[in-house]
Symmetry: C2
Subunit: 320 residues, 2 copies
Amino acid sequence: MEKIDEFFKQLTLGRKPINLYEPIYYTLSQGGKRLRPRLVMMATKLFDGNAETALYPAAAFEMLHNFTLIHDDIMDDAPIRRGQPTVYRKWNGNIAILSGDALATLALQTMLNTPARPEITLQLSKLIGQTSAEICEGQQLDLDFETRGDVTLDEYVTMIRYKTAVMLAGCLKAGAILSETSPENQEHIYQYGINLGLAFQLKDDLLDVYGDGTVFGKKIGGDIRENKKTYLYLRALQNADAESLSVLQHYFSSINFDEDEKYQAVRAIYDRLDVRSQTEKQIAEFVRSAMQELEAVHVQNDDKKQIFKDLLIELSQRNK
Amino acid sequence: MEKIDEFFKQLTLGRKPINLYEPIYYTLSQGGKRLRPRLVMMATKLFDGNAETALYPAAAFEMLHNFTLIHDDIMDDAPIRRGQPTVYRKWNGNIAILSGDALATLALQTMLNTPARPEITLQLSKLIGQTSAEICEGQQLDLDFETRGDVTLDEYVTMIRYKTAVMLAGCLKAGAILSETSPENQEHIYQYGINLGLAFQLKDDLLDVYGDGTVFGKKIGGDIRENKKTYLYLRALQNADAESLSVLQHYFSSINFDEDEKYQAVRAIYDRLDVRSQTEKQIAEFVRSAMQELEAVHVQNDDKKQIFKDLLIELSQRNK
């Protein structure tokens, strides 16, 4: 991933106007998991593509991801990201809007510069375009859910598919496209990515309630405090008897409760309604689907798939 | 332009999530001058390109333009655009950020779908990518200028080049690229567009002070009221004696003056410092440069250039 860092540095460091490119460099140089470039490189290796070429889509998707973070942080009024002030707070809203716009453009330009045959570069660019559109749709659904009382579990899964899973899937497909593997392989690795992403997000929802705060890296119960309609909450609503329902609705009607009291009360209801094991079961189903898609991928040497199985385990069983 | 309207309708009307696509349809269906699609079609006709194919870049640039308006209106806290409430005011800031992001993505996707050879579609997409990056830079310069007291005329021209002229030039170049005319022709029509855009913006600055409010369509003196550092203001600063300078600085230090008093006082200084004729002279220079670039374009029948000359006259001599 040092090459990615070098790439970002060259693209933004010292570039003018400073107030546009400094927030971009600030965001990109914070690191984070770099999960998206890692997925592009993994798929490129699986399908015997060119790792040098893959740097472009790898960087492009990481930039697209960071663009969404900059804009989401404005919309969520979020003060901290990766332990640092958000662009929105460190600079201001206008600079966060504009540097986000510029970063989205840089992501596109990077993809368009992928040194491959024009057909391939065009396919990759259409992929990042589609991904970007779906992420906007997912974010809008998320915003819509805030004020809706009738969100279903299916709608929730659709929302996280767009907001989270399509980008992970897109990264894998990018590696498959540039390696010029078959359309079937492209589709199977994409669907592996979708299921990986869904499992990943549900695990996130689970850790927010049942994680160990000292390991998780952020405070437990944040979703409950903020009345976030997570998979656990929607599952609880679905299972709830009249009494549990009334307690849940009481606590999710305001953010002005004692934080710990609210967390303990909601968690007690989740426990009673068996929400934890049902969420774990759903995660296991997504993991199983991902494994099936992975098996359907045709490559000469099936040992090369091991790293994809390891990643599934890593992300779905993580404690942080 | 009915085809463009039909295009926009199909792309956005009734699409979900409603809260994402309704503001986009709202913005695109307001019309406006449709100058950008017109430029794409003009260049396509000049270079004997395919008008059906040109609809894609024409629509893409108009969408990119409208995306910038949606985000600029948030940054400027603007209540009204084209006589209607801005997206930011009619919905809210979050929806304006997100529907702007989605519209920028739609613009890109439309360009990527241009039905041409992959090399050509890729060139067109790189062009809209570059245009988008430069517009972000121009907008950032504009924001930076608000708090700077030492902006030069050259810096101002650089800012409007990026913020306004590159998109007009990009539209013309798009028509040239898809018509597969020579690189020299592409460059000359691009530079024609740059000079057209610079003349267009300076005329806008001029009309804000010397226009006829009943014809101009918006209230005269808005730039003065908002302390906008226009070409006229910067030219006045350059020309000013100590007394004029002190009056100008006094009035540009706050927005809490009686609107009419401030306008009359500033205009009197502009008059005294000969700012109007100097601005007109600068516009005439840009028009002359544009004409030269147009002459350097090689086409079989020079009569086809007439419409470009007419447009220059139309935009640089307009009263609204």
